[in-house]
Structures are given as structure tokens and as C-alpha cells.
């Protein structure tokens, strides 16, 4: 082997030995991609039944047999988690429906605005009767009953899902109602034909009347035959003629003239992620300062260790708040993100998150032994928190158990708080919980850090 090759082999060998000798770094290098891949794989696995139910509300203003049947079917659907509204609320809403928005609808829309529900479906007064009639295509499209769907615009893909499931259950219920043996719809059709003929013979010709009667008779005959057969499920699957309703989808934002801005969501997620990375650098910087002997020099000064750690927390909090301010200034200036909610609430969330970042940095400095090992561990922890916080993928696509787990991750609260104060347009009270949770996490992080912080490497 010539000298150059020997040197090359020795250098390569050195790097490999160094890489594999750092066990902690090696574990992180292997664990991080496996954990992230497993996380996303499980989220988007085909046929996975782990996906959470979509939380929606259904307000039944109609209170008819048909509408109640639809509500029951929606409630039983495996893909939905329907929040029940009391009969009293719905009845009260039905009374005011013609004049404005009832209390139940307002409540449901507030839940959507707060991100607790993805959508609220409102079945209007008279829906049962009008939908059955509309099934035969005899009603003008504009006169079909209109179902309002108020949805969370940050999760607009849910709208399609809700629309589809609603259509399925409405069609099943309406077609069952229309084509049953003693269908009130068919009876009403006969009655209306008779009335039309009796009132004015010119309105309907005898031929047309005969044809329509034959059609109605055949429907009744078919349904009677089906009813007598053992396979009752087939009746349920009977095809309809046309969609018996229309939908009116509206975004639930802070106001009628306020449109959802997707940048507001992404800026919340990305600012949280990259400021946390800054916190990691801050923590690693503390370890490097310790290695350089700077802590020794600082501690030799007549200042307490609490003041030293406190100054580190204060400076990192300040830097994080400044960085977030600049990021949001760019969002406001160039991406039309607006602080639709409480500005004080936004500032509170921002400072609380800055404090969280600082104490997180201090925590990893306290737990980590060397800068090299700590960096990998901290980045892994940050990625986990960011993923679980919903910065990359909205948390509503997580399995239910993971959604519950994510409530224990402070980044979830940071992102929720920022979106609440921006596009959701919520008031100060909506910022209090995120601020409180982040401060609580910060306090725990700080206590562990002060307890574990090792002044000597």
C-alpha cells in the first residue's frame, strides 16, 4: 500500500472510530430519523384506524323525524365526533332562525373559532320535508334546503370530509323516507297531484296525471316488494334522484370581512420551531462557556449564581421575543398576517414563549454533559416538541391519544396561543391558558435546571 493510501485509510478510519465512539450522538443520529419517520408513517398509513374522529357540532333546527335520523347517523359515524346540543338550545334557535343566529349556532361557531371543533352543521327549519321533495328534482336548485357548514379555515380539508359524510347520511335518510311503503313523501305527492288536478284541470293533463300516478304506484310497488324481502338493507341503499339539499360553507374567522390567512398558521409553527432551535444554541453556548472557563471567571465575581442564571434566562427571553417580533413584523408586512385578536394577548404569548425558550435552553445545558452530546439530544427533543406541537402537521390529524399527549407539550400551547391571537381573532382570555401553561413549563424547566446545573465540566 503506498503512503498516500495508507494516510487516506488512517484518516477515514479515524473519522469512523470517532463517530461510533460518541455513543450518545450515535443514538440520536439513529433515533431521530427513525422516530420522525415512524411518526409520519403512522399518521398517513393507508387504512389506519388510528386517525382521530373529526369533532363537529350538528344543530338540528328542524327537529323532524328525518333530521333527527340524520343527526343520529352522523353521531354514529366512525369518522366523526359529534358534540350534542341540547334540544332546548336547538328549539330556541329554531324560533330565532328566521330573524338571525340562535344561541346554539353561536356557541357552536365559537367552538369552531377556538379550534375546539372543526365544523358546525346547521340543519334548517323545514329541512326534512323540503329535502324529501327535492329528491325528485321537482324543486329548483335555488329552492332546495340549504345546510350551513361553519368550518375552521385552517383545516379546510375537513370541509370536504364533512360534506361527503353529510351527503351520504342525508341521501340515505331521505331516500329511505321517500321510498318507504307508507312514505309520507309519496302520499304527499299523490295529494299534491290530486289537488292540482282538482283545483284547475288545465294545470296538469290527464296523460301526465296518469303517468305520474303510474310512477308513484310503481314506487310504492317496488318498496312493498322490497319491504317484504328479507334483505331490508337493500332498501336503505336505494339510489336517489338528485342531491336533496345544498350546502353553504362559511369560514369561521374573527369577523365576516376577515379571511383566513394560511401564513398566520405557518408563521406560528415556524417561529416556534426556529426560536426553540435558538434556545438549543443558547444552552450549548452555556456549556461551551463552562468549558472555556468563563463560568469560573463569572462566579469569581461578587454576584450570586442565581443572578448569573437569571441573567442568562433574561437575555435569552429578550432575544427570543425580539426574534419573534421581527418574524411577525415580516409576516405583517409581506404576508398580510394580522393580529385580529388581543394585542396584549399576543405579547403575553410571545414573552411567555421567550421565557419557555430560555428555560428550555437552560434545562438542556443542565442535563447535557458536553456541548457535542447535548446539541444532538436537544435537536431531537426540539423536533419532537415541534412535531407534537402541530407546527408541521395540524394536530387534528393525530390519533386521539396523540392529540391528548400533545396537550402536554408546551409548543402546542405556543402555537395555539399565537394562532388564537392572529387569524382566529380571539380575545385576551384565549391567551391566558397558553400563557399559563408555558409559564408553568418554564418554572418546572428552570427548577430542574437550577437543581441539576453543574458549574464544572
Amino acid at each position: 500500500m503506498n503512503a498516500k493510501l495508507t494516510a487516506l485509510v488512517a484518516l477515514v478510519r479515524k473519522d469512523i472510530v470517532l463517530f461510533f465512539s460518541n455513543k450518545r450522538s450515535l443514538v440520536i443520529t439513529l433515533a431521530a430519523p427513525i422516530a420522525v419517520a415512524a411518526f409520519f408513517g403512522s399518521l398517513f398509513a393507508p387504512g389506519s384506524d388510528k386517525l382521530s374522529k373529526v369533532p363537529i357540532a350538528v344543530i338540528d333546527l328542524d327537529r323532524s323525524t328525518l333530521s333527527q335520523k340524520i343527526v343520529s347517523a352522523l353521531s354514529a359515524d366512525a369518522a366523526l365526533a359529534v358534540t350534542p346540543f341540547s334540544d332546548a338550545d336547538a328549539v330556541a334557535d329554531a324560533g330565532v332562525a328566521k330573524h338571525g343566529q340562535g344561541q346554539a349556532v353561536t356557541q357552536a361557531m365559537t367552538l369552531v373559532q377556538n379550534g375546539k371543533l372543526r365544523a358546525a352543521i346547521v340543519l334548517p327549519v323545514g329541512f326534512g320535508a323540503e329535502a324529501t321533495a327535492a329528491l325528485f328534482g321537482s324543486i329548483d336548485e335555488r329552492k332546495k334546503p340549504q345546510v350551513d357548514i361553519h368550518y375552521d379555515p385552517s383545516q379546510s380539508m375537513v370541509l370536504g370530509l364533512v360534506r361527503g359524510i353529510l351527503a351520504q347520511h342525508v341521501m340515505q335518510a331521505v331516500s329511505q323516507s321517500a321510498f318507504s311503503v307508507n312514505s309520507p313523501a309519496v302520499a304527499r305527492l299523490r295529494e299534491e297531484m290530486q289537488k292540482a288536478t282538482d283545483g284547475d284541470a288545465n294545470k296538469i293533463s290527464p296523460d301526465l296525471k296518469r303517468d305520474l300516478s303510474a310512477m308513484v304506484d310503481s314506487i310504492a310497488k317496488v318498496q312493498a316488494a322490497r319491504a317484504s324481502s328479507a334483505d331490508k338493507g337493500a332498501a336503505a341503499a336505494a339510489p336517489g334522484f338528485s342531491m336533496p339539499f345544498t350546502t353553504n360553507a362559511t369560514e369561521v374567522t374573527s369577523g365576516i370581512d376577515k379571511k383566513y390567512n394560511s401564513y398566520a398558521q405557518s408563521f406560528a409553527g415556524m417561529s416556534v420551531q426556529f426560536i426553540l432551535f435558538m434556545g438549543v444554541d443558547f444552552g450549548v453556548g452555556l456549556l461551551l462557556a463552562r468549558r472555556m472557563g468563563l463560568w469560573k471567571r463569572l462566579r469569581a465575581a461578587p454576584i450570586s449564581t442565581r443572578l448569573l442564571l437569571g441573567s442568562s434566562i433574561a437575555s435569552c427571553t429578550l432575544i427570543a421575543a425580539i426574534v419573534m417580533s421581527i418574524i411577525y413584523a415580516a409576516a405583517l408586512a409581506f404576508f398580510k398576517v394580522r393580529l385580529e385578536g388581543s394585542i396584549i394577548g399576543f405579547m403575553g404569548v410571545m414573552w411567555a414563549f421567550g421565557f419557555l425558550t430560555a428555560t428550555f435552553g437552560l434545562l438542556i445545558a443542565a442535563i447535557g454533559k458536553t456541548p457535542e452530546a447535548t446539541r444532538g439530544l436537544a435537536i431531537f427533543a426540539t423536533l419532537l416538541m415541534v412535531m407534537l406541537g402541530g407546527a408541521w402537521v395540524p394536530s387534528f390529524v393525530f390519533p386521539e391519544w396523540l392529540q391528548t399527549v400533545s396537550l402536554g407539550v408546551p409548543t402546542r400551547w405556543a402555537i395555539d396561543g399565537l394562532t388564537a391571537m392572529t387569524w382566529r381573532g380571539l380575545g385576551l382570555e384565549a391567551a391566558l391558558a397558553p400563557i399559563g401553561v408555558m409559564l408553568a413549563f418554564s418554572a418546572v424547566f428552570a427548577m430542574i435546571a437550577i437543581w441539576r446545573f453543574d458549574w464544572e465540566e
Binding site: M292, L294, K296, R297, A301
Partner: protein
Amino acid sequence: MLLTTGSPLAKGAATAVDASRVGLIAAGLSKRYGDRRVVSDVSITVQPGEIVGLLGPNGAGKTTTVSMICGLLKPDEGSIMVCGVDAVKNSDFTKRRIGLVPQDIALYETLSALHNLELFGALYGLAGADLRKRAHIALELVGLADRARDKPATFSGGMKRRLNIAAALVHDPDVLILDEPTVGIDPQSRNSIFDNLEALRARGKAIIYTTHYMEEAERLCDRIVIMDHGKVIASDTLAGLYTRLPASQTLAVDFEGDLDLAALCRVSGVREAHVKNNQLKIALDDLSNDAATVLVWLGAQELKVNHVSSGRANLETLFLALTGRQLRD
């Protein structure tokens, strides 16, 4: 406060002293880590205008001792008085009177030299024009006034070391503690640092200088405390320590073969002899008279002598005599 011999604080001080006029009195310091006793009953006294060398091999307990004096570690036993004030009870005051030069170059590389000094000065309560003035004085003292606006990242190793010292001087301490301040620098920079320290001594600073380089201690220190395994094994002026040497002159012999060391020690003129790695060190009463006798005796033992050199006894010899080991072991 007057201390007399026998008082716990005066332990290590030879006679009655006025503690308020002494820069530093550390008495009976001990420190344990678990079951391991790293410093045991160490006493050091430093007067204003005096440089006391803390000499010992790596792991002797020098840095631990210095850390206790500076308030970085709490001693398990013993007491520390700085300018007459109890350092354990009044650490804020005594920390203001001490300047620490850590073994590492503890500077912010991306802040300018002046900004570094202003930062460290501010930690001691200096502010405004006074802080700037003190920072400039400190830079002047270490010969870096013309580089005040430059960042340490652009400095040579020697310049960084000098700035490291300046950072400990900016608050004008009475006691300066330097923990191996010349590690890894060239002789020219080392001499420059020695000049700085001699100037500080002339200004009345009480200085502790830890090192494992005996040459540095010999050149710089008025008194020397030699430590090994966490204990003080000798403490005196350089002249006083030399009186403890078995002889003032030595003969070093590189040899091959089997040597009867006990027999060698009985040869006329030989005060003491040690052998390590086939190198023999012999302390002689009179080199001119006794060297030839010893060499003849070695020849008679059928040893192969490869190299012979002679020299004056030094701290290395003393450490060898006291511990049976070399200082750099």
C-alpha cells in the same frame, strides 16, 4: 485583627501578624469529593507586594485550593481571610478584593478586548467613565492598549493570555490569583507576563501564582508552597527551601546495568541518590572533589555509563528529595 502563632487563622504564618494588613491568609483548608480527600490542611499566607508560588504536579490540589480561596468552592474545613475579612462570611467583599486569572482563556472571543474588560469590570460594580478608565489602565498594563478595539479571536496565544490577566485586574484587586497563566505560550510572551507580574508586585499586590514549572517559580516567586497529593509538603522562601536540599550540586548519570543504590549512598561525598529509568541523580557535597570518586566507583561496578552531566540543585531536586518523584510525573 492580631493573630498569633497557634491561632487557627495564623496556622502557616510564622509569627504574629496583623490580619488586616495581610493580603491573604488561608488556614487549614480541606476539601473532599465523596471519599476522596483532594485538599488536606493547606495553609497559605500572602503579604502585599509578595508573589507566592503554588508549585506541584498536575493533580496536586492547586486548582482546588485556588477555587476555595476565590469562593468558587466552599472548603469543608479551614478559614480564609482576605484583607482582614472572613471570606466565608463576607464573600461579596472578599471577591471584590480578589482578581482571578483562570487556567483557561476565559474571554468572549467575539467581543472586543475593551468590551470584555468593561463586562468583567461591570460585574464588580464599576460603571461609566470609571469603568472605561480602569479598562484602559488594565489594557495599558498588559501592553494591549493599541488593540483595545480588536477581538480576542484575532489575537495570538500570548496576547490572549495577557488579556486574560487584564480581565482580572480591571477592578484593581488587592489579591491576584493566577492559575497556570503561561500554559501553551512562547517564551517571549511568558517573559512579558512575568514583567507584568513584577510590576504588579511593585504596586503592592499580593499574588498567588500556581504552576508546575519550577523555573517559573524560581524566577518569579518570593516564597514557594510545594503541594503534592493535596497537602503542603514544603513552604518557604526559595533560599530557605534550598537549605533543605541534601546538597547544592548534583550529578546526573545515564547508565546501563545493575546498580546497588544502597552501596552508592555509602560512597564518600554522596549525600543522596535516586534512580529512575536508568537515570541516576546523585546529590554531592562538593562536585569538584566527589564527582571523580563517584564515576570511578560506577566504573568499578561494571556499569555502562552513557552520559554524565552536572548541575546546581533546584526545586525539581527538592521535590524529588521530598516525594521520590519528579515534579512533572
